[in-house]
């Protein structure tokens, strides 16, 4: 996914650890955050909770990218504060466009 986003001209950064990810997001400057749900240590729900309870980070769009497909999971994801959900496996042809849809429109 990083490869795809960079290939389409975006500046993409990835972390494989939930804690490091929160720190990175806090450092700021990200237009949208994609998070998996099932991760060791800090899982997607916990990550969402931390991000959304931080007033500086709350406004940044948070999108889940996960293989969880059951309706209960979808509801839980929405309730946790994710603005959207992209299913894994991703469709490489449309993935970047899907992510771009969550970007705030350019001012001016």
């Amino acid at each position: 996914m990083l490869y795809l986003l960079r290939a389409f001209g975006h500046d993409a950064h990835g972390e494989s650890d939930g804690n490091a990810a929160i720190e990175a997001v806090r450092e700021g400057g990200f237009a949208v955050v994609l998070a998996d749900i099932l991760m060791p240590g800090v899982d997607g729900y916990e990550f969402a909770r931390r991000m959304k309870s931080d007033s500086r980070l709350r406004a940044t769009p948070l999108v889940a990218v996960t293989a969880l497909a059951m309706p209960e999971d979808r509801k839980r994801i929405a309730d946790a504060g994710f603005e959207g959900c992209i299913t894994k496996p991703i469709e490489p042809e449309t993935f970047v466009a899907q992510v771009e849809a969550f970007l705030a429109p350019d001012p001016g």
Binding site: Y3, A67, M70, P89, P92
Partner: protein, 381 residues
């Protein structure tokens, strides 16, 4: 209330020994709580000779720990005597002469005689029923536990199987989009095969998961008003290009007067998508069509949606095998007709789930018609 015309003695000496031979223990006591009359079953259940019980307080038949409450309840009952079961929602026990206890159900009724109002209680030994209930509860708990385990397994399997596909589909995608660089014709060909297989695997996983959900009753059945027209339009949009590619004519016609439909949209969409995709897949020349009209479903009003094609058709002897899982009728042509083999099986199960049925008629070499018959709504009488 009519005036009492008989006395207790009349009951005891009755020519009609209904009381004596009643299948439940009958104990008649007075306002003072003393037993006046019992029957044969009372002797049997509690292990007393009746002479030992007559004149005793009725609490002799109640385990010690409940006696206090029982006395209080008695006065309460006499204040407002009527026919009713005793101790609703409570577990009641009877006390035998030998000190052992057994679970009981008790019903009470007042008897107004010339000698005053007495209380008759019918007592039933429910030991077996309680044991049965306990077994049932245990079984239910086990079933639920097993069901939860299965659901967790399904959810986990779904996730585990889909995750590696992300890398496979993702990177074959980026390679075929030539993002890392140009490809030779042969490289492109091989990558397309890999991607095709990965996509096939993905639809297999999705189908199997859907099937598992249906079979374990986990498919959340929605019931909403569905505009059939819209569903068919979506299918036409998804599959139309495919039909065009094969040079097939594709047309959808929904009758103007079809009544409104209330059903599970996702299920309906999936069935029609599968039928139409099959129709296009198995047709080399000619046309594929979808039409819908009002029809009868199971004696109630409904809708029939037909998917017709001028494809290879199905032999009579093969119609039987059609809806079985993983059956594709012509094993030699599997490469031409790629599919999971689960489509019709799933569609038939889905159809049943939403209260409908899937039928097929076909002429080998000329074409087939698959008809989905649906009731207008599951609740409609």
């Amino acid at each position: 209330m009519h005036e009492a015309t008989f006395s207790l003695g009349d009951i005891a000496g009755s020519r009609f020994p209904l009381l004596e031979y009643a299948p439940d223990a009958i104990v008649i006591a007075g306002a003072d709580g003393r037993i006046r009359l019992v029957n044969a079953q009372t002797e049997r259940l509690f292990g007393y000779y009746r002479e030992e019980l007559i004149g005793q307080e009725v609490e002799i038949l109640v385990p010690a720990r409940y006696r206090g409450k029982h006395v209080a309840d008695r006065s309460e009952y006499y204040a407002e005597p009527r026919v009713r079961p005793m101790g609703m929602g409570m577990e009641l026990y009877g006390l035998r002469k030998d000190g052992s206890e057994f679970p009981v159900e008790i019903s009470l009724s007042p008897i107004t005689t010339k000698d005053g109002t007495f209380m008759a209680s019918a007592i039933r030994d429910v030991t077996e029923r309680r044991a049965f209930q306990a077994r049932l509860q245990k079984l239910n708990a086990e079933l639920e536990s097993a069901s939860n385990a299965k659901d967790r397994f399904l959810a986990t399997m779904s996730h585990e199987l889909r995750t590696p596909l992300n890398a496979i589909l993702g990177f074959t995608g980026t390679l075929l989009m030539k993002l890392p660089g140009p490809l030779t014709a042969e490289q492109e060909r091989q990558l397309e095969i890999v991607r095709g297989s990965a996509r096939h695997l993905l639809s297999l996983i999705t189908d199997v998961l859907d099937l598992a959900k249906i079979e374990s009753g986990k498919w959340e059945l929605a019931a909403e008003p569905v505009a059939l027209r819209d569903v068919v339009a979506e299918i036409a949009a998804s599959l139309g290009p495919l039909a065009d590619q094969k040079g097939l004519a594709f047309a959808a016609s929904i009758a103007e007067d079809i009544p409104p439909l209330v059903t599970d949209r996702r299920a309906l969409h999936q069935i029609l998508l599968n039928l139409t995709s099959n129709a296009i897949k198995y047709t080399e020349t000619g046309s594929v069509g979808i039409d819908a009209r009002a029809a009868e479903c199971d004696g109630r009003s409904g809708i029939a949606v037909r998917v017709t094609d001028t494809g290879i058709g199905i032999k009579d002897e093969d119609l039987q095998r059609l809806f079985q899982a993983f059956e594709q009728l012509d094993p030699t042509s599997t490469r031409r007709f790629e599919g999971t083999g689960l489509g019709l099986y799933l569609s038939r199960n889905l159809a049943r789930l939403i209260g409908g049925e899937l039928h097929v008629t076909s002429e080998h070499g000329a074409g087939s018609t698959f008809t989905l018959v649906l009731p207008l709504s599951r609740e409609a009488a």
